[in-house]
Amino acid sequence: MARQDRIKRRMIRQVVRDNLETLEGARPRRRGRRLRTVLTVARVLFLVALPAALFTSSYVLSTVAAEWRDDVWQDGSGNVSPSVRAPVAFSEMEPLPPMDSNQSRVTPQPIDPSVLPLGLHTVVLDPGHGGENEGTVSPTGLVEKEVTLDIAERVRGLLESHSYKVVMTRHRDVDLSLKQRAELANDARGDIFVSIHVNWIENREVRGVETFFLGATEDPYLEALAARENQNSGYSLADFRDILEQVYAGVRQEESRQLAGAVQQALYDSLDAVNSTVRNRGVKSAPFGVLTHTEMPAILAEVACVSNDVEARLLMTPIYRQYLAEAIVEGIQIYARSLGEPNHLEG
């Protein structure tokens, strides 16, 4: 039994350490990360401001920068219009010293926790379907429009607790056209747009998550899926074609691809732990109507396949929807942090 006793002693030490870590809290570690994040903002502004100036993301970045250097950037009136803000931000950033010296100038101490790590302030959440437009219905009676609203509400709660501003395209069971949703997002000046859906796949064995950003597709499966999600879009086919052409290449698409990648990875990683045979169906581009008219990086996540019995059953439970929500938030945060990385948009 000597071996067993040794194991027990070791475990007790591990339990105690785990509890001590909780007692001491994660404060020191977190502070380290904040500091790094703030420092990288400086670099990012140089790298991104120029190409991104045409698009929302530059506004996003400059807005954040404005928050933590408020004193410097505000004009006398106290409010700064976006159009003047970006150039001011840029010129103000120039005299900043390189990242490793003279930190005190870049880093107001202590950092106000309400300042977000980086350029994401406003997240627009779009619970798929609503009203007459029920979306997919599972054999167990799960209705897509209800599931998407529930998950979106959970995401909202989590994001708000991380001090993001959240705008929902709908809070209730109402039918909005895809065009209305996009317009709502644009009016709210969202920094990113996340549309939440659940999937139905003919092969009932298949389960998993996939995340989309706007683009063309040759895949007949994706065409069918897009056609289904695009019902009642409020757009004509011609609109689609025009819009697609306008936004095709460009930063917004690349930003969207990165956001989709982060959300997809977080969804897959976290679901793998609870739903072990979940398939990573990957990041894809497809012509979803709701993604066309939004002016910010936009994605559509199909977070589960209700055509699969196991997944439908999991989806019936609040904890699983909570998992999904946490994963989406995790993905958004990963994306937000990536905005601070020097090679962002280079890859």
């Binding site: 067993q4 006793d5 194991i7 027990k8 002693r9 070791r10 475990m11 007790i12 030490r13 591990q14 339990v15 105690v16 785990d18 509890n19 001590l20 909780t22 007692l23 809290g25 994660a26 959970r154 709660g157 989590l158 607790s161 732990a273 609870v274 072990s276 045979t277 019995d309 196991v310 059953r313 999991l314 439970t317 609040p318 904890i319 699983y320 909570q322 998992y323 946490e326």
Partner: protein, 348 residues
């Protein structure tokens, strides 16, 4: 390592093992007390109710019995403290207070040093660690929070090459023991367990007998008496009112289907966790699967899992006969084994 060290034998120290479950909670104490309560906490809704009940807060069966006068909470409902609910945080606190007072059995709290190991659903520990720690502050002198399946493993001395499957009301917790305090990768939580069976049974019976008036509560009671998986050994008859008249129904098939609805996900997770164990140890883990928790008592469950193991070379599943106390007992063993020097660092 179960003998207590001399310092701990001093009668000033009271060691506790506590299991805070989603549906039932229990405490085992070094003074021999062993108690369980239902995990409900309620506060009188108004002055009138408070006067009638003569109490500021009610816990367990008493809370259920007086639910109409109470703001009733089941704080760890789905294995999590509900997001943003202060009342649920308070309820967890009241639950622990109540269990400690049961363990004191009239002894003077002030004269004792109380050290508690508290097991919580693995998911709550993952998500609400900090929150739990502060919710439980100041009730005992020293506090160690562990995940419930770990407490079960410790109590059963299954610390190496074992797979614990603890299926309670809200969640099914899986934990592979490798001789270390389980890391996140050693654990899984499925959000389907006993409550899910109740819902399925309710749904299946209602759709088979639309005239029968049944409640979720009735479904749970029937389940706890007649649950089974696999071939039925006898028919399951239940009684429910139809237009006010008690009527007998054959619930055999609904019962089987409801119970078996847990199987696919549990099997799959079990096999997946085993497949991630280093190949040379898989055999030992397969032969050391432990099924615990109230829902592990579903007849035929252990056998069904053992059958699933046949597909990967066979194994053995043991069912814990007394799941109500095993977690708390494990916590108590851990509390007694931890040296005073470690306890000193964990002031609550």
């Amino acid at each position: 390592m179960s003998e207590a060290t001399p310092e701990q034998e001093s009668d000033r120290v009271l060691n506790l093992g506590v299991d805070l479950g989603t549906s039932r909670s229990s405490v085992s104490a070094s003074n021999g007390v062993r108690q369980a309560v239902e995990s409900y906490v309620g506060w009188p809704l108004d002055m009138v109710a408070r006067k009638v009940l003569k109490r500021d807060v009610l816990v367990g069966r008493e809370a259920i019995d007086n639910r109409l006068m109470l703001d009733l909470h089941r704080p760890l409902e789905r294995g999590l403290i509900k997001e943003g609910s202060d009342k649920d945080v308070l309820a967890v606190r009241e639950l622990l207070k109540h269990l400690v007072s049961l363990a004191l059995a009239g002894a003077d709290r002030e004269s004792l040093v109380v050290q508690a190991v508290v097991g919580v659903p693995a998911e709550a520990l993952r998500v609400n660690k900090q929150q739990l720690r502060s919710a439980l502050k100041g009730i005992v002198d020293s506090l160690m929070i562990v995940s419930e399946p770990f407490a079960v493993a410790y109590g059963l001395e299954s610390l190496v090459n074992a797979l614990i499957i603890d299926i309670g009301a809200g969640t099914a917790d899986f934990c592979v023991m490798h001789g270390r305090y389980p890391l996140e990768e050693d654990q899984r939580t499925l959000p389907i367990a006993g409550d899910h069976v109740d819902e399925q049974l309710y749904r299946l019976i209602t759709s088979k007998y639309p005239d029968a008036k049944i409640s979720l509560h009735m479904a749970r009671e029937w389940k706890e008496r007649f649950s089974f998986m696999g071939a039925p050994t006898e028919k399951v008859w239940v009684v429910a009112p139809v237009q006010g008249r008690p009527t007998e129904f054959d619930a055999t098939e609904p019962m089987r289907a409801a119970c078996e609805s847990l199987l696919p996900a549990v099997k799959e997770t079990m096999l997946d966790l085993i497949s991630r164990v280093q190949p040379e140890y898989q055999d030992r883990v397969r032969n050391n699967v432990i099924l615990s928790g109230g829902s592990g008592l579903i007849r035929g469950f252990g056998l069904a899992l053992q059958e699933a193991l046949e597909e990967v070379g066979g194994g053995r599943v043991r069912v814990v006969a007394d799941p109500l106390h095993v977690g708390a007992d494990g916590g108590l063993a851990l509390a007694m084994d931890a040296p005073p020097s470690e306890w000193d660092r964990l002031a609550a």
